[in-house]
Symmetry: C2
Subunit: 454 residues, 2 copies
């Protein structure tokens, strides 16, 4: 990241000049710990009862062979990231004897083909649906809920309610009311925890526990990172230092943040990161109400895969990115590349190495190629993929995002920009109260001259 | 896309002023049709024999219940995109009676956990491995090949060779030599077709045919778009007009191209597009050898999912993007949202609508919200997802990329930027001839001061 090494880098003296701004960001975050929308900072510490309830519930649903999350955005991405990082690549296709835990699905859109496809492969008698929406008014999730209730009640009658668990706000919104009426099991999303910061609340913990992930260790990992960040100064606080470097790089023209783990299991950690970084930091106004239209666009990449897709652009293209690598030092299993190409020197040199060695050599070499090309990048190395490290990694990104929000002087916890689209969708679907919007939109219809038919 | 509608837009007069440049780009592309690396333009027309061979081979491997592609980049993304777009969402998990065609997997990296996981769920006696590498020297693919050959020979002995099919260059590289020695079935990648333009060659067609996709219709769809582009002038050529608009937007500061289909099935069309656009157009030098470091960074998004993740940033963030929507007019199946929330008006308005209506209302409303925010975007509408339309869509993007390459005056068909990283990986893995590179790299090791341990 530094100008000593790369053309696009930042000088140490420039970095030092940001020390007080960075410390101010940290102080601001600490002063809000647990308050307003910073309840996520308490999650590693205040959930022993909740964890117990989750574990008990998972025991209660021992009939469950298939656990389905119906949620979207922050109600989906965390659970998917945990599942892919911490379960077998083809978990759902393993025989029950090897799998031991339920199959897992998350339907995070309103695509009819996808939901119908799910119904083709599940047995309703052995399936539990986890409906996740804090507001209880998310159109996609509540539509799925209505469809699934009808589906279950037709097949299971009175027993349907035992196949639904709602994760929602404790004291506001529709879903909690519906859950009480219908007698569904419920878990709660604290008021002070927003969707994209909710992975370590029941939003992520319940699905994780349902598929056998050790949720205590997830929280322990988060606690460790929280303590590191809380107790260290600027230069020793990994989330604060890297947030500051990201901020400086953004101000220097790097409007793109590439997240590139070298592990197939971590591919959806990137999706989760993209929401966290994009939705928290992409804002039209700062806290003073000034129009600033800021935000670094997160991009999901995957090593080694994207070396054969995106790295050409990263190496030769514009100086408009920061690349963050995630490197796994020890894979959970490995394979040695056997002999068999003795007469082909451009293949034979691989023999005797393992796939883990190859993957990590490629990570190091891509880092090197970027550096040679003058492009900034940095690497997070984790010893191995396990609950402790993944809990820590996700908490790290949350801290980094919080600090970056302070440096940009924006509210990292709202999403006012999605209202216009929501209202427009209400208008199109004929919701009462949106007639005026519908009228405006019809006047605004795309004119013929903009349409090309082929 | 136009300034009449959006702040970030382009004026009609400005667009008109690019007409001759655009026509020149078209002439340049047409003059290279079928030559150099533009062999992909012939693929819709010159493959009747090849298609016949592919279909015969698929009949020959009727024992196959599991078809595995081992390839990376352009040798993987096209087949995956076709599979996800044109097969059931949970194809691999359907019972054989409903599935009718083999399960499909593509391992496009060197992650040991992923390959070991595959071995956990396949039956070698009923599996065919399609090794795809044009050069026959791709480290990841040749490593996989060696591992898989050992795996098969241990289990099937002499019969192993009937479970391997190689797609490679006809007259150069290792893989064709190995295939001849070992007696593998082979298909060829024409010399003039590069990886990212190869989806309509045997690279994509063989895996597609293996899982029951109608490859004639794919090629027919491509032919249709090719004819439209060939026969029309600037304003009526959809690929040329949109390439020009993308080019102008890029020159105006939109260094990001977001691809956002509103269909879960099309999600990996975006991955394929990201390689095509990123690797073709991200270049350090123009054809005059001048240092230009150009390239628009492609970003994969998915509707409606990313409305709850990225749309906040797209609406409120910087004016640095073009968003391309893909809208599907008719889904292959649908579900009506049933009643059941009469007392909750903010849910009840959804009832009676279908998920397809909801999805398309959200597409339209996101388009509207971006427009209101002054952000450029355009929409490709396809009637339905089928072979004809997907073949056409992919060919369309290839034409658009080719035109964009001309407008940028770059070579869209090479990837010199990946060499440095490849050489560095060879050095790390101890390949003969790379000792000097290894020495350089060891001097260049990351210094302690850049490393923070926690």
């Amino acid at each position: 990241m530094m100008s000593e090494s790369v053309k696009q880098g930042i000088s140490f003296s420039k970095l030092d000049s940001f020390a007080s701004e960075a410390e101010k960001a940290k102080t601001a975050v600490e002063s809000m710990r647990g308050k307003d929308m910073l309840g996520w900072m308490d999650l590693p510490y205040n959930q022993s009862e909740i964890v117990k309830n989750i574990k008990n519930y998972v025991k209660e649903i021992s009939f469950c062979e298939c656990f389905v999350v119906l949620g979207i955005g922050g109600s989906a991405l965390g659970a998917v990231a945990l599942f892919n990082a911490l379960r077998h690549t083809y978990h759902n296709e393993l025989p029950q004897s090897k799998r031991r835990h339920p199959r897992f699905y998350c339907i995070d859109d309103a695509d009819p083909e996808r939901l119908n496809a799910l119904f083709d492969i599940i047995n309703p008698h052995k399936t539990v649906f986890n409906i996740i929406t804090k507001s209880g008014a998310t159109s996609e999730t509540m539509s799925q809920y209505l469809i699934v209730v009808e589906y279950l009640e037709k097949r299971l009658g009175q027993k349907a309610k035992g196949h639904i668990v709602a994760t929602t706000s404790e004291d506001s919104g529709n879903l909690i009311k519906i859950a009480k009426e219908k007698g569904y099991k419920t878990f709660f999303i604290p008021k002070s925890v927003g969707g994209r910061f909710s992975v370590l609340s029941p939003v992520g913990l319940l699905p994780a526990a349902a598929v056998g992930i050790d949720i205590d260790a997830l929280l322990d990992g988060a606690k460790k990172i929280d303590e590191v960040c809380r107790k260290t100064d600027f230069k020793n606080n990994p989330a604060l230092l890297t947030a500051t470097l990201m901020y400086m790089a953004y101000r220097n023209g790097a409007n793109i943040s590439v997240m590139m783990p070298y592990s197939f299991g971590l591919r959806t950690i990137s999706d989760w990161y993209c929401q966290l970084w994009g939705e928290s930091l992409g804002k039209a106004e700062n806290r003073l109400g000034e129009k600033i239209n800021v935000g670094q666009t997160p991009v999901k990449a995957l090593g080694v895969t994207d070396q054969h897709s995106q790295v050409q652009l990263y190496v030769e293209g514009p100086f408009d990115k920061v690349v963050t690598f995630i490197r796994v030092e020890n894979f959970r299993s490995d394979v040695v590349i056997p002999n068999g190409c003795e007469t082909y020197p451009d293949v034979n040199f691989l023999c005797g190495h393992s796939l883990a060695e190859l993957t990590n050599a490629e990570q190091k070499s891509t880092e090197y190629a970027l550096k040679k090309a003058g492009k900034i990048n940095w690497t997070i190395t984790i010893d191995k993929i396990d609950e402790f490290n993944i809990g820590g990694l996700m908490y790290f990104f949350q801290m980094q995002t919080a600090y970056m929000g302070e440096l940009l002087n924006i509210n990292a916890y709202n999403q006012p920009g999605v209202e216009e689209g929501k209202n427009a969708a209400y208008a199109i679907l004929g919701r009462t109260g949106y007639e005026e919007k519908a009228r405006q939109m019809s006047q605004d219809e795309t004119e013929k001259k903009y349409i090309m038919e082929i």
